[in-house]
């Protein structure tokens, strides 16, 4: 399989009054064409930062180091102008919380059309026609193009968000918690929509699905990476990770789901400001030994593509 996006040693830090927030540390990740890669993590694991780093819309206070290779271009080295030719056209970001991510004073049709106008050089009328076509593609009547976001329900707003991202038919999608805060039935619909976008892409389209919800990850993703305290602790094909989670955190995370036993992990996640030395999961881990506290474990390969960052897994 061909790789679409290669993330190499990516670190993201923020300066804050209380110290440096290490939101992401030395991330390495490859996304292959045609696949949905799930990035699973809880609040404060740094997963949202990664999505915004790829498309370079982090706030100016962020310090980003490393490389993000998109094809033969390193995104982190590109200028704003070149980036604007990629954003929305080749890489699209589906935001969490569509209620605040849609511009309240512009019609949905306009919000889709402006992207098309910008990237495909169409005039306003053609762009609007396109917008209506895209809306029906995501299962909404074209007349909804003339409505404002507040006239949509929560689920429809998320659809509109997907429609905006779909406007220029990009090949790479980043979906940031697309199902958070939605009702069960609507969650199912949005998951189905995202799945169909990638699966109908003839193996050309791929997606980075950022989520905290392991159910959604189980249903949609081909492979998954689990993040804890700014680091990826485990990566592998979804089925294997679920069948045989190797990292103690991954095990804990899966087992704490109500449908899988509701067995809690003890302790609390560390703050991203004062990260401990060595393995970040040390203090909560039942299998930890002394050396875990001294150095960060490297990734170990456990057969095929399944890798884990733990000395004792």
């Amino acid at each position: 399989m061909e790789s679409v996006l290669k993330i190499k040693d990516l670190s993201v830090n923020f300066n804050s009054k209380d110290g440096i927030v290490k939101a992401a540390n030395n991330l390495n990740l490859t996304i292959y064409s045609g696949e949905i890669l799930g990035l699973i993590g809880e609040t404060g694991s740094g997963k949202t930062v990664l999505g915004q780093a790829i498309i370079k819309i982090l706030p100016q206070t962020a310090r980003v180091t490393g490389e993000i290779w998109y094809g033969n271009r390193n995104i982190l080295a590109l200028g704003e102008e070149e980036m604007n030719k990629i954003r929305g056209k080749e890489i699209a970001l589906i935001f969490q919380n569509p209620s605040s991510s849609l511009n309240p004073s512009l019609k949905i049709g306009e919000q889709i059309a402006e992207t098309v106008q910008k990237h495909q050089g169409l005039n306003k009328k053609e762009a609007w026609e396109k917008a209506e076509a895209i809306l029906s593609q995501v299962g909404m009547p074209p007349r909804f193009a003339h409505y404002y976001p507040h006239q949509y329900s929560g689920g429809m707003r998320q659809r509109a968000m997907v429609a905006i991202c779909l406007a220029c038919q990009p090949l790479f999608y980043i979906a940031d918690e697309p199902t958070r805060g939605l009702d069960v039935t609507v969650q199912n619909q949005i998951a189905g929509l995202l799945n169909s976008i990638i699966k109908n892409g003839k193996g050309q389209r791929s997606m980075l699905l950022i989520t905290h919800d392991i159910s959604v990850a189980a249903a949609l993703t081909d492979s998954m990476a689990i993040m804890y305290a700014g680091e990826i602790v485990e990566y592998g094909p979804t089925r294997e990770v679920f069948k045989n989670p190797l990292h103690p955190y991954s095990k804990g995370l899966l087992n704490s789901h109500p449908a899988k036993g509701l067995k809690p992990i003890k302790g609390f996640s560390p703050s991203l400001i004062n990260l401990p030395e060595g393995c970040k999961f040390f203090s909560r881990c039942s299998r930890a030994e002394k050396d875990c506290q001294k150095e960060v474990p490297m990734f170990g390969r456990k057969g095929g593509k399944h890798i884990v960052r733990c000395f004792y897994a």
């Binding site: 300066n15 804050s16 009054k17 209380d18 206070t61």
Partner: protein
């Protein structure tokens, strides 16, 4: 980050410094002022700044610096008085109306809407124009409309607080209305009121000065900044120094309050929760 916050705090501290200076001056006016502010010396009229009268003398030969110093006492205490009365009325009505809602709320808020629709100064002009210029009338004119803004803002704050879980949860624990208002609601809105009142101080000083300038506020022989300007207006083309320094005094006082209010607003912003603690 620290770099961004620094100038803000510096402005705040500068405002505080100016204000302390003003308060000291007005409290110790009789020690600071070199002359009696009302001592008329016709042969010394309209002296230019310099010499024994630092800021010169006015049309009656009175020492301008001394008049400004005593004027500070007058202008500041009058503004403080008006702001405090407004604050008390406004907070009382706003809290009652926001917390208990219902028909009383509906009525008071319509009244506030109506009163707010009146331009402040025009209303004051109307009141003073008919009742005649005097200090009680001036205070009445500025209070009659002034409380509405406090009431409106307090009500808004109380309304949004009332819906917050932490207030509802106290209710669920068994806390009564009086307990909730005095222990949770009022303390939560105090920072906002402090900012509002501070910024309003500057506004009041200017309004009082403007009315006095028109001859409708503090009356002429009294050393007050606005009335000094009103008196000095006739000498503007011959002896502009008569109106320059009282104007600067107003600017300094208003600027001090504005700096303070603006700085406090940044510091007390509820979104920067960390700061409230310190």
């Amino acid at each position: 980050m620290s770099k961004k916050i620094f100038p803000k705090n510096r402005l705040l501290i500068f405002g505080l410094f100016l204000l302390t200076l003003l308060i000291m001056v007005s409290l110790l006016a009789s020690y600071v002022a070199p002359f009696d502010p009302n001592y008329v010396e016709v042969e010394n009229r309209l002296n230019r700044p310099g010499g024994k009268n630092i800021l010169g003398t006015d049309g009656y030969g009175r020492d301008i610096f001394s008049r400004i110093v005593f004027g500070a006492r007058f202008s500041l205490s009058l503004a403080v008085l008006v702001v405090l009365i407004n604050l008390c009325i406004g907070v009382f009505i706003g809290t009652a109306s926001g917390f208990f809602g219902g028909a009383v709320d509906e009525l008071t808020m319509r009244l506030v809407d109506i009163l707010l629709a009146f331009p402040n100064i025009i209303f004051a002009l109307l009141v003073i124009g008919i009742l005649g210029p005097s200090i009680p009338n001036l205070v009445f004119a500025l209070v009659a409309l002034g409380w509405t803004n406090y009431a409106r803002i307090t009500r808004g704050l109380v309304l949004s607080l009332k819906e917050q879980d932490f207030i509802i949860s106290i209710k669920a624990i068994g806390g009564g209305d009086f307990y909730i208002i005095t222990r949770h609601v009022i303390p939560s809105i105090i920072p906002f009121l402090v900012v509002l009142a501070t910024l309003n101080m500057g506004h009041m000083i200017m309004s009082i000065a403007a009315l006095s300038f028109l001859g409708l506020g503090v009356q002429i022989p009294t050393p007050e900044w606005g009335s000094m300007l009103s008196e000095g207006k006739q000498f503007i083309f011959t002896h502009p120094h008569v109106i320059i320094s009282p104007g600067l005094a107003i600017i300094i006082a208003v600027f001090a309050f504005n700096l303070l209010g603006d700085g406090l607003r940044d510091v007390l912003d509820p979104r920067t929760k960390e700061i409230i603690k310190t």
